[in-house]
Structures are given as C-alpha cells and as structure tokens.
Amino acid sequence: MADPMPMPQASLKHRYLISVWTIVRKEVTRFTRIWLQTILPPAITMALYFVIFGNLIGPRIGEMQGFSYMQYIAPGLIMMAIITNAYANVVSSLFGAKFQRHIEEILVAPIPNLLLLVGYMVGGVVRGVLVGLVVTATALCFTDLQVQSWPVTLAVVILTAALFSLAGLLNALFATKFDDISIVPTFILTPLTYLGGVFYSIDMLPVFWQKVSLGNPILYMVNAFRYGMLGVSDINITTAFSVIVLFCVVLFGVSLWLLERGAGLRT
C-alpha cells in the first residue's frame, strides 16, 4: 500500500523521469508500429523531389551559391520532412488520444503538465530526427552531402523539430474534429514551407518579396540548416538561431499555460 506522506525529492525526480520516459516510449512505439504511414512516405516523397527537381530540372537551373541544384535543395527538403513529421506526430497522436479519451490515462496520473508537454514534444522530436535521417539517407543516393558544422546542424534539427512538435500540440489542444488537424498543415504549414527557401535563395526574389519572406519563420530554419550542411545561408546565422529559439520559448510557454488552464483536455 502506498505511503500517504510526500515522496522525497530524489525519489520524486526519479518517478517523474520514468513518467516522461513512458510517454516518449509510447509515442515512439506508436509511430514505429505504423512505419508504413510515418517513416516510409517521406523517403518516397523526397526521392521523387530529387528525381524531378534534382535530376530533371536541376541541370537546367545550374549552380546555386556554388552548389549543384540537387545539393542546394537537399538541406531544405530534409528540413521540410523534419518539420512536417514532428508536427504530424504530435497533432495526430494527441488528438487521437483526446478522441479515444486515452489521454485520460495520463491526466489522472501524477504527472505535472510540464512533463506531459515535454513527453509529447520529445516524441515529436524523435520522429522528426528519425525521418530526417531516413530522408538524408535517401538524399545521399542522389548527391554528395558534406556537413560543414555538426553543432549548427544538430542544434537546428532538434530546435526545429521541438518547435513544430509544440505547434502540433497547440493544434491538437484546440482541435475538436479530424478536419481541424489537417487545416493548419494544409493551409499554413505547407505554403510556408514551400515559400521558406527550400527550392530557391531569396536573393532571387524582388526586394519587396525578399522582405515579405523574412516574415516566414521557416525561412530561418531552412537557411540555418543549409548553413550547417553547406556553409551558405540567406540569413545571418545568429539571427536565424535567435528567431528559432524565440519561437520555441514562446510556443513552449503558451503550450504550458494552456495545459495549466486545462484547455482542450480538462473541462
């Protein structure tokens, strides 16, 4: 029988560590169990991008900032896969848990909202990184890629995956039907990604559209990642990191605030 007295802090920390690990483990088990829906499609999509844009159209475009077109778009495509998968993982998993009501398993357990948030976010990051690796492996079948800066590359991958996991979580909190979890990816995320410098340098745009593009947060992530891999970027790397970190902090804070208020999960 459990002891009614509060647990010692060390024991409490250990308990919380197990709780978060359980959420992460469950998340990873979930998306690996359905790998045909989660891991394989990005690899196939990216292979098609490389064949069409890289092999067929790329040679007509020529070099971009000293790299072949295929090499130039590879970091953007990898980042696109990371963004969409980190987002999709959390939004579909959390909304599914809400829909089937098994989120209550976690809500009734002694898990602070902060840990629930971290658990789901880490789950999204793991999927984003795993898909990123698969897509990178796919890219290597078509072109050579050298990493210029491992710290920048890894930091951008993890921060971007975390950012979009948090965005997915926010979407899931407010979603009340399945349509609600596809609206943001279809009408916001995809256009922003395509217009975020994945396929082109913003230097190619008229000045007005260059300035408009600077309002697109995905531009900073794509360029920071491209800087990490190729050493070239349209955006100052410090500015890019500042924007990414700022978004992460704001989304984390808003998500936690909403969870504390019970938004979308508790009545």
Partner: protein
C-alpha cells in the same frame, strides 16, 4: 482516517450549467461506498474533479489528507479510477496499456511488469495480455480498466459503473474481486445503476441529485427507512378469490401469482401463518423491486427516470 473529504465542492461549467451546488462528502479509509444518483445528478462531475479531469469552481478536495489545491500530484498517487466509458487505446495490447499506466505513476518497468502480471492474473486477463485491446469482449475491456486502475496499488479505487454491460458471470467475478480488494484494505467508491449491486457490496451510501447530496448514511440505516416492501409469491395452486387479510395488502396479478405488501413492523412469519390458515401453498418468494431501488426512486422523485450516467 478519511480517504476522501469533499467540502463545499461546486462546479459551474462554461455554458453556465451548475453541476454541483457545493457538496460535502466524507469517505473513511477502508469503506466500500456507494455514490448513486440519476442521470446528470453530478456523480461523474464529482469523480472528474477528484481525478483532475474536471476543474472545480469552488470547494476543497482532500485525498488521504492531501489537499488537491496544494499537492494534486501527491493526492493522485493514492487514486485509481475506472471510468464509465472505455478510455484506452484501441491499438495497444493489454500488456502495454497496463504497464504504461504504471509508468505514468513513476513505477519502473521491472516493477510494473510484476504488478501488471499480478493484476492481469487476478482479473483473468493474463492469457489475453498480448491481444490488441479492441479485440477484447465488453467484459474483458471492463476488467482491463480495473487492472489498469490497480497497477499502481492505489489506496482509493473509484469505479464509475464498472459492471455496465457485462454478463452476470463476469459481474459476479468482479464483485468477488472488489470485495476481496476492499477486505485487503483498499477503499472503494462505486457508482452503479445496478442498485442491487450497491446494496450487496456497499456499507455506506450517498445519493446525489441536482448537484446536491440528498442522503448520506449507512446502507443499513437507509434500508431501515423503507416503510413497506412488496413481495411476489408464486403459488402452487391457482387462487380464484382473495382471502381478507388485516395486516397485509394482497393482490392477484394472475391466478398463481400473489403480491403482498408488508408494512414495516409486520413479520413474514405472520404472513406465512395467514397463508397456511387459508390453505395457500407458496412455491417461491421474491422482492417485487430491489429495496434500495424503491428508496432511490422515493428520494430522487422525477429525476430517477433512469439511474445511470
């Protein structure tokens, strides 16, 4: 020691509906407690507040002395809950559902596995542990929710209609399990729409109606307030006319079925003596309605069109 203490608990939902009007309720450690009420009376809201699924508007909740306003996580370590509706992932195995639940409570994988095995064996689900939950029968799903609620060994188990929709064999298995669990020290709070179940299992009872506690007493005291009981007697031979009985109100529903209203203070021995004097032979005897059901309907009046929910 008090397992649960609710004081002035109030809930007004965002749409303005008041679900709880400020209820006070105490459940002692080791009790087997029935919380009954008609549909929409506030039972599920009360359970939701205790388990943190519903945010209270006012009042206090203490679980084993821990104020949920001060340490909800600490209070929750003592609670296990079996909700009314199935709320587990339909794509996970029985084993994963139970072991993960232990993990959410901070129990290591090795300990969780041992506890899960114990719970699943006790609830006759061990052979189904690798089955995906959606393939289980209704009774198995109910037992899975009980196993999941018990895997962290809570001191207070709250069951919201745990036997709804299960066959009588499984229901009896669950009754035996819950009685045994209670005898081993777990406090049990039960809501059910099978009132004979509450009468059979619970020692204390509260009836909630329109967000207020309208009765809170021992089961024996409540049943003692019943002024009359109606019995149905199956007769060996058909009766053509009714004998006159001073102490009992008799009526024939068909020639071999006699209904007798026995007032409080009258004895069944007198009834049988009267029937023997009139050469009426009785094959069997049963209550026309469950005693608790009669009281429940009396107390809740028009609200009790149905007692589930």
């Amino acid at each position: 020691m008090k397992a649960l203490e609710l004081k002035g608990l109030k809930k007004v939902y965002a749409n303005g509906k008041t679900a709880l009007e400020g209820i006070d309720l105490t459940v002692n450690d080791g009790d087997f407690f029935a919380l009954l009420g008609p549909n929409g009376a506030g039972k599920s809201t009360t359970i939701g507040i205790i388990t943190s699924l519903v945010r209270k508007t006012a009042g206090t909740v203490k679980v084993y002395g821990i104020d949920t306003d001060l340490d909800f996580q600490g209070a929750k370590t003592h609670i296990g809950v079996v909700p009314q509706e199935f709320n587990f992932s339909l794509f996970e195995t029985v084993w994963d559902i139970v072991v993960n639940q232990a993990g959410y409570y901070g129990i290591s994988r090795a300990r969780a596995a041992a506890r899960a095995e114990s719970c699943l064996r006790q609830l006759a689900l061990w052979d189904k542990r690798m089955e995906v939950s959606r393939t289980l029968s209704g009774g198995m799903k109910r037992r899975l929710m009980i196993a999941r609620a018990l895997v962290h060994e809570p001191r207070l188990l709250i069951l919201d209609e745990p036997t709804a929709g299960v066959d009588i064999e499984v229901r009896r298995l669950m009754w035996d399990f819950l009685v045994d669990l209670n005898q081993r020290g777990t406090t049990v709070i039960l809501t059910t729409h099978y009132l004979e179940e509450a009468e059979l299992l619970c020692r204390n009872i509260a009836i909630i109606d329109h967000g207020r506690i309208i009765e809170n007493t021992t089961m024996k005291s409540l049943l003692a307030t019943l002024h009359a009981e109606t019995f149905v007697l199956d007769l060996a031979r058909p009766l053509t006319s009714l004998p006159t009985a001073g102490d009992f109100l008799l009526s024939l529903t068909d020639p071999t079925t006699l209904e007798v209203v026995v007032e409080k203070g009258s004895y069944l021995n007198d009834l049988f003596a009267f029937l023997s004097r009139h050469d009426i032979t009785v094959n069997s005897l049963r209550n026309k309605a469950n005693r608790l059901e009669e009281l429940f309907l009396k107390l809740t009046g028009d609200s009790a069109v149905s007692v589930d929910g």
